[in-house]
Amino acid sequence: MDYQAIWLSLRLASLTAVILLAIGMPLAYWLTFSRRRWKFLVEAVVAMPLVLPPTVLGFYILLAVAPRSPVGALYGKITGGMLPFSFAGLVLASVLYSMPFMVQPMAAAFSAVDRRLIEASWCLGVSRAATFRRVIVPLARAGIATGVILSFAHTMGEFGVVLMVGGNIAGVTRTVSIAIYDQVQALDYRAAGETSLFLLAISFTVLALTYALGRRLRVVWPPN
């Protein structure tokens, strides 16, 4: 088994989930409560990775972060490095690629919070931000947890986008799924089988955990 690749994937998936949690929460809040007419455009953009072939997404990310692009140039000026074929570039690509898996469960959970509870909090003089923290987040806990777990699991298994943006550099951008691909190409079916089984186990555990969590949370707050 390629432990280096497994370790890299775990780091990538955790970092992606943490960053997405920070970005996804305000985005999901905005998508849930905004009354802007062009909201559907943002919704479509966020959901795009669900239907777009990973190679297409990867191709555009590669163009967008190339050293001569505005993003790539800025990154180069600040860090001296470049985004394509680096771990940082992989993180950026993964964040975009897994966005819907974080935002959609969260937005669904936010909109399931009884509107009157939010209004009650406002009328009690509690600010919008504090209401979000004290009412919406605790009541949407299951949805937030689902978002974190799904985006983690989705990043663990991504292939096309990684290959396009990160290439295949051991210890830097070679993730588990790419390692499996390499192993099969080299006709090393034993190693590929082991690594695949590992990914399968992780996926199953994570999903089982998600559903178990959902059930437990529902027991704590029985629907009235």
């Binding site: 009884d114 009157r116 509870l117 209004e119 009650a120 909090s121 406002w122 009328c123 009690l124 003089g125 509690v126 600010s127 004290r134 009412v135 605790p138 009541l139 707050w221 029985p222 009235n224």
Partner: protein
């Protein structure tokens, strides 16, 4: 506390519903205003506008000189800065917090223990809201709103989430809690008994407009027009004092006349409510029927209302009877003549009432 609420709101909905409400309330002597009207008349919308949860298209809202909303000056304070405590129809308690945490949610540094004790909630302090009865949830909602130190309390149909039995029991209790809370309150209801039991003054809302404002007895006793009369439904609302009770009957005294009704367990000052169509009339001062309530008086006015005649009788208090125009003609009733009114015991309904100011 010279709190005065002035409110002038206009709003059109795409559905065609138009709200155009003008309301001025002085809360100093009469702390509880009932906003009364049939469902769909715009009561809740008006309440939400006062709270800042919805914005009128035009108009202005101010409490005690502080402007909350003014379309002309582009002022629209968020609900947080209005401090209007809102008690929702189903109470909207935070389901993930205990009773004590709900009450202290917006209390800041204030100690809520006295408040919990005052509402009889200390034994439930660690319970979760869904495990409480409707009446207890209502107390938590009210305590939570009061703990935030509101300038005005807004209650949207506060008794409608309760079953019929506890509703009657809770009415008087809610009135006491509102008065003890010492915060001017607006209570939305479509129930006559609730309006009488809870309010000092009332405003009648019909089709998005405030049609009449005044003290509760005055509005019920002298509706400004037929529509309001039909809406408030009860023409006779008489302040009464309970004299005695025996064998399931209450004898009470109003305006020097004794009336009997079924004992529904009310105590203290009460109002006897009699619908005008439940009052039958006879010429002279007769007294021969199974009906226990006979009142003799002088006919003060007769008005025709289509097939009906509305007869006002002065018998120490004003009693309105609604009889068919035909019977009025057959009896040949004239203003100034003596007539006697008969009211069946079961047609007299008692509701607890606020002590009269005047």
């Amino acid at each position: 506390m010279a709190a005065e609420l002035t409110c002038e709101c206009r709003k059109r909905r795409p559905s065609g519903f138009a709200l155009d409400a003008k309301l001025v309330v002085r809360f100093d002597a009469a702390p509880v205003l009932v906003l009364f009207g049939p469902s769909g008349s715009g009561k809740t919308t008006l309440l939400r506008m006062i709270a800042g949860l919805e914005a009128p298209d035009e108009g202005a809202i101010a409490l005690a000189g502080a402007t909350w909303f003014d379309a002309a000056r582009d002022i629209n304070l968020p609900p947080q800065r209005r401090r209007a405590g809102f008690v929702f129809q189903d109470y909207a308690l935070f389901p993930h917090l205990t009773v004590a945490q709900n009450v202290s949610y917006a209390a800041g540094r204030r100690d809520v223990r006295d408040l919990l004790r005052g509402f009889g909630l200390d034994e439930f302090a660690t319970r979760m809201p869904p495990t409480l009865s409707g009446g207890q949830q209502q107390k938590v909602a009210l305590a939570r709103a009061l703990a935030a130190g509101p300038a005005l309390l807004l209650l949207d149909e506060p008794l409608s989430a309760l079953d019929a039995a506890s509703r009657a029991r809770t009415r008087g209790e809610l009135r006491r809690m509102l008065v003890a809370g010492g915060v001017p309150s607006i209570v939305v209801t479509h129930d006559r008994a609730e309006a009488i039991a809870l309010g000092d003054s009332m405003a009648v809302m019909l089709d998005g407009r405030i049609r009449q404002t005044g003290c509760v007895r005055e509005v019920f006793g002298k509706p400004v027009d037929a529509q309001v009369a039909e809406c408030v439904g009860v023409e006779n609302v008489l302040p009464a004092r309970i004299v005695s009770r025996e064998r399931g009957l209450i004898t009470m005294e109003t305006g020097g006349v004794q009336l009997q009704c079924i004992d529904s367990g009310e105590t203290g000052p009460v109002f006897a409510c009699i619908r005008a169509e439940d009052v039958a009339l006879a010429r002279g001062a007769g007294r021969t029927s199974s009906v226990r309530n006979h009142v003799t008086g002088c006919v003060a006015a007769i008005t025709q209302e289509g097939p009906l005649a509305r007869v006002e009788l002065d018998c120490g208090f004003r009693l309105v009877a609604l009889i068919t125009a035909q019977s009025a003609a057959e009896m040949n009733l004239q203003v100034g003549e003596t007539a006697s009114a008969v009211v069946k015991t079961t047609s007299v309904h008692l509701t607890p009432g606020a002590p009269l100011q005047s």
